[in-house]
């Protein structure tokens, strides 16, 4: 299995370089050897015995360049080594096929289509061979890139058969394998694109170089909602290597672009700009003050999210009542490859190279800006140095298009790390207040949860008309984690008070779940301790009778959640106490979640806290998962490890504050993330499942914060209700 890459060696045109240019382009269908066998948009097979698979999702570390070929080849029966992959581009023969990568949907969204595409091709290859041999197709089988006539042992390769297969009738419903007979799906397959990564040959967006390409960076208005007033470009233009200075309006953070022969010259030119900003209406915006407004909003009635039984009345009757408020701050995505895009606008067409999760939107927004048809915009999706939701937004691509149009040159517009950290679509901050009631025997009777925060609707913010419908959020199924609370409370009420701010927000890894699940799973722990019960047993009771919960559009199988809780507890040796060691207090905490109906996960964290310093170490995380059929267990384990580290960064370090209308943090020194020395040992256990595959790119994120907070409580008796966790609160 290899990546198809065409490497162009051309004379360099960047100033002072005079060296070679290297670039990777997906081979266009037209350039392939004809005639070809192209039974669907996903596959072509050529007489040179190459099977080409178009990858219809962006590779951003979740492994689509491995799992998508696996699903295809399960049915196709090609030789793994003869498959090459290429990145699909929006439009052309992918019109109508989704290329957007979001919602942990890469597997779920392609599983059926790729299996059908593989089976279709296989049946047509078999039909071609049977025709050639004049034998019934039922006597032929496909195996390892060949069709074999079983009685005689005659064989032809897929390459031999490509031309005649192209003439066969396309079957409507080619037979699909029984999952019991899978030989590829469910096996451990290593990343197909590992070798170019470890040799420095993989081409991310930032690495693409076009002939004649210029390099640009921008000075951006630091104030949320602010604008460019005036600027003086004289000193910038006097900087060696700087060519032009251009105001840019189209992105989310407007400003002035400095275009130069190479990146460093652009950066130097940017520093030499003199700019006056119009701070706009939010120049005094302060996230601490927003938090105070959110606290006040907790007293307001919210939109209905869930209402089972009569929780307000039931809680009055409870002899034991608890209430707590949990806080989750703004978070940046900060993928390690900063935002960047190359645009080349030529008259009435445009070509774009971009690390994006949203190729279709890149195409449509570029076309709209330029006033040209979408088909006139070609979007090449490169490898992504992380996405995590930030790259669903196309602001950084559209401003590169605006810049290329202005200067009449291909140009790479690069965001600095500080740009990336301060001008994002942040995970919104959030407050969750939960009240719970226990009856005389300590049984949980009532649960009332109120969420306050900026709205985070993935499909766009609701209109006033939408909000006139009191059931809007229930129908939308949000906030996730509160709406789809899996526990069986006799009385359960959930509300949401949207409180928007000037901060642009958007989906972060696990979207709405991290704050709601932090609060829900922490408060369950509080209730269990108040009831004098083991937190695991408390959850197991609350999931009885292991039935299917139906809420709005969601169906949640409590038996699957029970199973992963039990498995995680068993593997973590939940019942065995942890002894204190060398000045440290040790504890275990458990948390679980159901991610969008079809992914069930439980985690047990083992944590120690320094008796004096209050410093936190997360030693081990045991993770049990049922997300239906697993395509690649090795990939799933990687996503579990990845999601846990992601969530742990937010648990222990991450936050973005706003002061005087601007983001405070701007690089990895003040927006800290988990590094090697804080990385726990992660063990992942998979429940074998016959359910259809679920998505797993985000599932492991939400439970880790409450698992750690609950472990800290078990170790120290101190309850964490605010993230990131401040060690000074845990000092002796």
């Amino acid at each position: 299995m290899t990546a198809t890459r065409r490497e162009f060696l051309k004379a360099g045109t960047l100033a002072g370089a005079g060296l070679v240019i290297w670039l990777e382009l997906p081979t266009s269908a037209a350039a392939q050897a004809a005639p070809i066998f192209e039974p669907s948009a996903y596959i072509s097979i050529t007489p040179d015995n190459v099977v080409r698979l178009w990858i219809t999702r962006s590779e951003m570390g979740q492994g689509v360049r491995t799992t998508l070929p696996m699903m295809l080849n399960e049915e196709l029966e090609a030789d793994w080594a003869q498959i090459q992959y290429q990145q699909a581009m929006p439009g052309g023969h992918f019109k109508g096929i989704r290329l957007r990568t979001s919602g942990s949907g890469s597997t779920v969204g392609t599983y059926s289509a790729l299996r059908k595409a593989g089976a279709t091709a296989r049946e047509m290859l078999i039909a071609a061979a049977a025709e050639k041999w004049n034998v019934p197709p039922s006597t032929c089988r496909a195996q390892q890139g060949k069709v074999i006539h079983s009685p005689s042992g005659r064989a032809l390769t897929y390459g031999d058969l490509a031309q005649s297969a192209a003439r066969q009738k396309v079957p409507d419903n080619p037979p699909l394998k029984n999952p019991k007979d899978f030989r590829v799906i469910g096996t451990r397959v290593k990343r197909t694109d590992g070798a170019p990564i470890v040799t420095g040959q993989a081409t991310y967006g930032i690495d693409v170089r076009l002939p004649g390409m210029l390099c640009a960076v921008m000075a951006r208005c630091p104030y949320l909602g602010g604008r460019l007033a005036t600027f003086d470009a004289a000193k910038a233009l006097a900087t060696p290597g700087v060519r032009q200075v251009v105001p840019i309006k189209s992105g989310m953070a407007p400003g002035v672009a400095v275009v130069a022969d190479h990146t460093w010259a652009a950066l130097q030119g940017r520093d030499a700009l003199h700019i006056d900003w119009d701070p706009g209406p939010h120049a005094d915006f302060d996230s601490d003050r927003l938090l105070q407004q959110m606290e006040a909003a907790l007293a307001q009635p919210g939109f209905f999210v869930r209402n089972d039984g009569d929780a307000p009345k039931a809680i009055q009757s409870c002899p034991r009542k608890l209430e707590a408020t949990y806080e989750f701050p703004f978070q940046a995505h900060a993928p390690l490859e900063p935002m960047n895009c190359i645009a080349d606008v030529r008259g009435n067409s445009c070509e774009i190279w971009v690390p994006t999760q949203a190729p279709e939107r890149t195409q449509s927004e570029a076309a709209r800006l330029l006033g040209i048809p979408e088909d006139s915009v070609q979007v090449h999706v490169t490898l992504l140095g992380g996405g995590f939701g930030r790259r669903l937004f196309v602001d950084y691509a559209v401003e590169a298009v605006e810049l290329s149009r202005a200067i009449g040159h291909p140009v790479q517009l690069l965001w600095t790390r500080s740009d990336d950290m301060r001008f994002g679509y942040f995970h919104p901050n959030d407050l969750e207040r939960i009240a719970g009631g226990l009856d005389e025997s300590g049984r949980p009777l009532a649960w009332i949860q109120k969420s306050v925060g900026p709205d985070l609707s993935v499909i766009g913010l609701p209109s006033e008309k939408d909000l006139a419908d009191p059931k809007y959020y229930f129908n939308d199924g949000s906030p996730w984690g509160s709406f789809d609370n899996p526990y069986n409370f006799p009385h359960l009420k959930a509300d949401f008070v949207p409180l928007n701010s000037p901060v642009p927000t958007g989906p972060w890894r696990a979207v709405m779940y991290p704050p709601t699940v932090f609060a829900r799973e922490s408060f369950l722990d509080e209730m269990a301790h108040a009831a004098g019960q083991d937190p695991l047993e408390f959850r197991l009771h609350l999931l009885q009778p292991g039935d299917v919960l139906t809420v709005g559009y969601a169906r949640i199988d409590r038996s699957r959640l029970l199973r992963v809780l039990q498995l995680a507890a068993e593997k973590a040796d939940w019942k065995r106490p942890l002894a204190p060691t060398d000045g440290r207090l040790h504890g275990r905490g458990i948390a679980c979640n159901v991610y969008d109906q079809d992914c069930y996960i439980a985690q047990v964290a083992e944590v120690s806290v320094g008796r004096q310093a209050g410093d936190i170490r997360v030693h081990r995380v045991v993770c049990a998962v049922d997300c239906g059929l697993v395509i690649n267990p090795a990939g799933l384990e990687g996503q579990a490890e990845s999601g846990i580290i992601w969530g742990l960064s937010a648990t222990l370090h991450g936050r973005i504050d706003f002061k005087n209308g601007a983001a405070v943090q701007e690089n990895f020194h003040d927006f800290e993330v988990i590094r090697m020395n804080e990385s726990p040992a992660v063990e992942t256990y998979i429940v074998p499942s016959e359910h259809p595959p679920g998505g797993f790119g985000e599932t492991a994120v939400p439970p880790i914060a409450p698992a750690v907070a609950n472990a800290i409580f078990a170790a120290t008796g101190k309850r964490i209700r605010r993230l990131p966790i401040a060690p000074e609160k845990l000092k002796a």
Binding site: G12, L14, G16, A17, L19, V20, W22, M60, G61, K190, R191, D193, G194, A195, I197, V198, T199, G200, Q201, A202, T203, I206, D207, C215, P240, H262, T263, W264, Q268, P335, L336, E337, P338, L383, L384, G385, G386, G387, F388, T416, R417, A634, G638, E641, S642, G643, I644, I645, W646, N667, F668, H669, V673, I674, R675, M676, N677, S679, A681, V682
Partner: protein, 155 residues
Amino acid sequence: MSTFTLLVNGEKHRIDADPGIPLLWALRDFLRLTGTKYGCGMGVCGACTVHEDGVPVRSCQIPLSATLGKTYTTIEGISADGTHPCQKAWLEEDVSQCGYCQAGMIMQAAALLRRKPQPTDQDIDSELSDHVCRCGTYQRMRRAIHRAAREVSQT
């Protein structure tokens, strides 16, 4: 503008450039060695790590004027054919996710193994903790470094 002779991966390159340009951008924009990545620009993420006379350094913090007489190795030059023990171990342990940080990680790990062929977990922590992997592949990197160390000790 000055003329510099930069010795990278065993080859001499003449560059006419501002003496203040960081090695990172000279490698990427002039020599087309894009395996060395920009991540933070202030020496706190490790993505731009290269070897200077065999010692791992942050190429975003080294101006061209400081490169005189030094020899540099980048991820493209750490082995002729991708067979450095770290590169092999990284593939065996299936480390990479998005992969963007991995060149810097491998350069740092390779230097650690040269200095300390049998590193402990603590050695790995102290050597690699100036690097950021946003995908969180630390556990697999740790395994890969131990695997590479075993290979080095057997040869």
